[in-house]
């Protein structure tokens, strides 16, 4: 199959420095963080406002892409499950999805609340939240 090339559009700047210290979910102690976009993408940020909740897509560049099954949450007591039924970061295309609340925005820098992505994580995209109703 054809492969496709991702172009990172920026990076996460965070106090979280490695996977071992990263919480599994944002409500488990993730710190506020900065999204630092490349200057060329500033026009694409127009319309993002402090106070809004958005979806952030990242590339989990430290993931193992050959993992197809896991014990959910790394808990050996849970039965082995296909990665597509879980949020495990190790998966064939390790795209991270994060709901972020925008605290502030200055040019290419966006400050967000409670982000569980590690410092340096490449940013792929930002989108409005999906809601099952629409």
């Amino acid at each position: 199959m054809t492969a496709y090339m991702l172009r990172p559009i920026g990076r996460v700047e965070s106090a979280l420095k490695d996977r071992a210290s990263a919480p599994r979910q944002p409500d488990e102690g993730a710190p506020d963080a900065w999204l630092i976009f490349d200057d060329q993408y500033v026009p694409a940020l127009d319309g993002l406002s402090p106070g809004a909740d958005m979806l952030l897509l990242t590339w989990l560049d430290r993931a193992d892409r050959d993992t197809l099954t896991v014990h959910p949450r790394g808990d050996a007591a849970r039965p082995i499950t296909g990665v597509f039924a879980t949020r495990a970061p190790d998966r064939p295309n390790p795209i991270g999805l994060h709901i972020v609340h925008i605290l502030a925005k200055t040019g290419p820098r966006v400050h967000v609340r409670n982000l569980e992505a590690i410092d340096g994580t490449p940013i792929l995209d930002v989108k409005p939240l999906l809601t099952p109703d629409r």
Copy 2:
């Protein structure tokens, strides 16, 4: 910046054959469709069950990746907005996000309700739904 390579894990099989006929949102008349995974990923599908709602990530391979601003929904009456504040398919990394309801699953074939992706669209990932509460 480093670029990253996506590996499509399957394809959408749908009666929607081109962008012009695709609805903008799934509740605007999208048909049921099949997700056809490559055989090697069948183990990763273990745990996906008919009746479940999941997030499907696709690669919108017909998108224009140089678009940074749009009139939302292609409506010239709406003010120009950065693509990251919209769901426009044309964007630097055209990753499609779809909430799908699983109707049936047989080996590498998964039947889903109301999918607005076009026939042949590459599949990147499947994940549990995100909920703002967790």
